[in-house]
Symmetry: C3
Subunit: 321 residues, 3 copies
């Protein structure tokens, strides 16, 4: 029988990072605390620590990405790992090799950790179940399912600016239905004990079951962000706008775009977050994106430290069995 | 006049690696022995040796590849070389620059070694004839002609599991007509003195002249692998299945697919090899690919050590003249 | 109000390299002198100096390139910088993120220097105006506007072979209208005091205003290169030949192709340069490209040292303000 927590080893340590769901609070907090210790590495003249020296980290991005792939690469290099970026679209997979055969082959090249982004929800689980006990898998975004390091860096960012989660009202705004970021954010913030977590968006973009996850649901932006300490604006995928779920980008912006006027309904010291890449003028107004309450770029910087923490922690779990 | 061995310098040392054909047994054995010494590098905490420090290795893959390109990159990095992967399809060649002008330009950037994969048979020879005397060329697969490092790693794998070549029966199975791997395997195994070398496949996929190369030819898989010590299953290129040479993948699998039942005809301790990427259910059954007699993944691991050996040996030959 | 020299800081030091236009002669000469000191780095066993240790250089090539991208990568690595090559075409820009948002994100990843090639003239200026004061931008070619490091390496090459600029006649030959190389060459050579600078090409490929830039204009190749010390042949973009500006490549070669017979009209010790990639048989005959007067490959080698100099000098200018 398979364990209910396929990412933890028998000692309850983090061996893979596949999802925030089911992750004990202690492990999440350990990741955030470890990230603290890496924040300063970037400030040093020699921006590396030797924790992963001699280890090989393979970036397997089956979907294109700048931000996530590059921050993982920077994180792994700062830990002194050997990093390999595989250009998957142009390689063996185009010759019909199966995903798991590709993984086996890279493992035979002494890969220690796979950082995986895949359009199919669950692909990182499939890989994690398959790999040898000494190999680690980090989910860098799978389908609509999870983007756990984004959830963790969002939590890190909130903790950085707000210190304590227990009094916070956090509003996640936008296309929650298709967002792996929203899913991971909800799990991490509920686990860390946010006082009130709100899901805000048009009915067609709100999945069922949000209340069971602990969210208050709002279909009006003004109500959803009123009094909030933190607003997380989600990217509206361009393909949604071409589909039947939304009338138009302009209409969406009028109702759910985060403008200075709308933001004024939140707490005066509310922070605004966004996982990127932004659609300016769709889910967020440039005055907000570039304004004094935006912490969108610090999120990126913190993301490196958080990914260093994840890579270092999973690598310190020697074997799955 | 051109030398008969364009890959050897005047002292008979390996300067380029272009083909197994015509390579003296002593050089092949030196490569295998040198690879032995690199097998343990991967086990060390610091997985590198300084043999190629300050040297530049350029990976020029005009055809896509994961396995070969990545293992060459790992091999070169473990030797402390500076490695550059050129994305050829998107670069100057698309502006109409000739292959040799590209080579000249990279040499002007102080390239020391070119690792070349090209769809045209003979392209690495063309480059080797053109480059300056201090520059080395390693063929990473050219057209249907040769894939010498695959031949060498196959020989290394066989030697690892079977020790002595002189009593072995080795069966190469599948699309020998289009396979550069088969051609290099035949040359390396004949040179190393395999007792019996068999070429097994449908008539349409068997080239003329196999007997002259020292192979026994079989068109029935059952006869071809009976009593064999080593079975090398070749990848069936997908494009062959769409052409006129084969009725269908299903039909091919029925006749030439390596199943547990067929494998039982070989020696009980026979090993099964495959250069990858595999078409499971076409040339090989998953029970065989993943079974106890398969050494397909060790081939990949050994491939790194063998490629380290090749890069180190050619680099120790200072000049062509 | 914006400064007239957006690439210099308040102390007149080079902070960005965007264009040769407006660059003081002293700065150009400092770059060439600094490049001298890097020429020998390539000859050393350890081909690096620690000037940019801990700095991150991001290669942002929105147009494909082998030569320029690779020489910048080699230059940055030899200065011990961490180099990141972004595959822009496949990344966030394809998700509709704006150029400046991409830049902001990379800056949040602690990018120190951006090396930018872009099809739009002025894109590096846009970026330079936008980035934080500690970040540097180096133009690696923007539209038809400028290619300043090519201009500098051309000046370096001429100085290497001819020592003094003040007695030289330099002829730039070919498609000057569409050439950012020509524009940068004209500015750098006028600033360095070349005695006579000639622009040679068919009327349809000569822009207006060349005389105002200090060029003598020739529409006949024979007249244009007569007595020249240096001939810079420009690449004829393939797309020009398909357009209405030129009758055919063959016709172009007959009138403007640099052949040994034409070259004989120049000074006997004239050198021939070309920015690459060459169209042999279009703007240059192979006997000239590969002949004794060609310094086309040394240009490439010198380009590394010149780019090292540029990266090192801009990085030594701590802040823009």
């Amino acid at each position: 029988m398979r364990s209910r927590h396929p990412q933890l080893n028998v000692h309850g340590e983090l061996h893979h990072l596949l999802s925030i769901e089911g992750l004990p609070r202690a492990i999440i907090e350990r990741i955030l605390t470890t990230a603290d210790s890496f924040i300063n590495v970037a400030e040093r003249e020699v921006k590396s620590v030797p924790l992963l020296r001699g280890r090989s980290v393979f970036n397997l991005f089956f979907e294109p990405s700048t931000r996530t792939r590059t921050t993982f690469e920077i994180a792994a290099r700062r830990l002194s790992a050997d990093v390999f970026n595989l250009d998957i679209a142009r390689s063996s997979t185009s010759k019909g090799e199966s995903l798991l055969d590709t993984i086996d082959n890279l493992t035979a090249m002494q890969a220690d950790t796979f950082v995986v982004r895949h359009a199919a929800s669950g692909a990182p689980y499939l890989i994690a179940r398959h790999v040898a006990p000494h190999v680690h898998v980090v989910n860098a975004g799978d389908g609509r399912h999870a983007h756990p390091t984004q959830g963790l860096l969002d939590a890190y960012t909130i903790r950085h600016y707000k210190k304590d989660f227990s009094n916070l009202t956090v509003a996640i705004v936008g296309d929650i239905l298709h967002s792996r970021v929203a899913r991971s954010d909800i799990h991490v913030l509920k686990t860390l004990g946010v006082a009130e977590l709100r899901a805000v968006g048009p009915l067609t973009l709100l999945p069922a079951g949000l209340e069971q996850l602990g969210c208050r649901v709002f279909t009006k932006l003004e109500e959803g962000i009123r009094g909030a300490d933190v607003i997380i604006a989600l990217r509206l995928q361009n393909e949604r706008m071409r589909g039947a779920l939304l009338p138009s980008a302009k209409e969406y912006f009028r109702n759910y775009g985060l403008t200075p006027e709308k933001l004024a309904l939140a707490k005066p010291d509310a922070i605004v977050m966004h996982p990127g890449p932004m659609n300016r003028g769709v889910e967020i107004d440039s005055h907000v994106a570039d304004g004094g309450q935006s912490v969108i770029l610090p999120q990126v910087t913190f993301g490196i430290a958080v990914r260093m923490a994840v890579l270092a922690i999973v690598a310190s779990s020697p074997r799955m069995q």
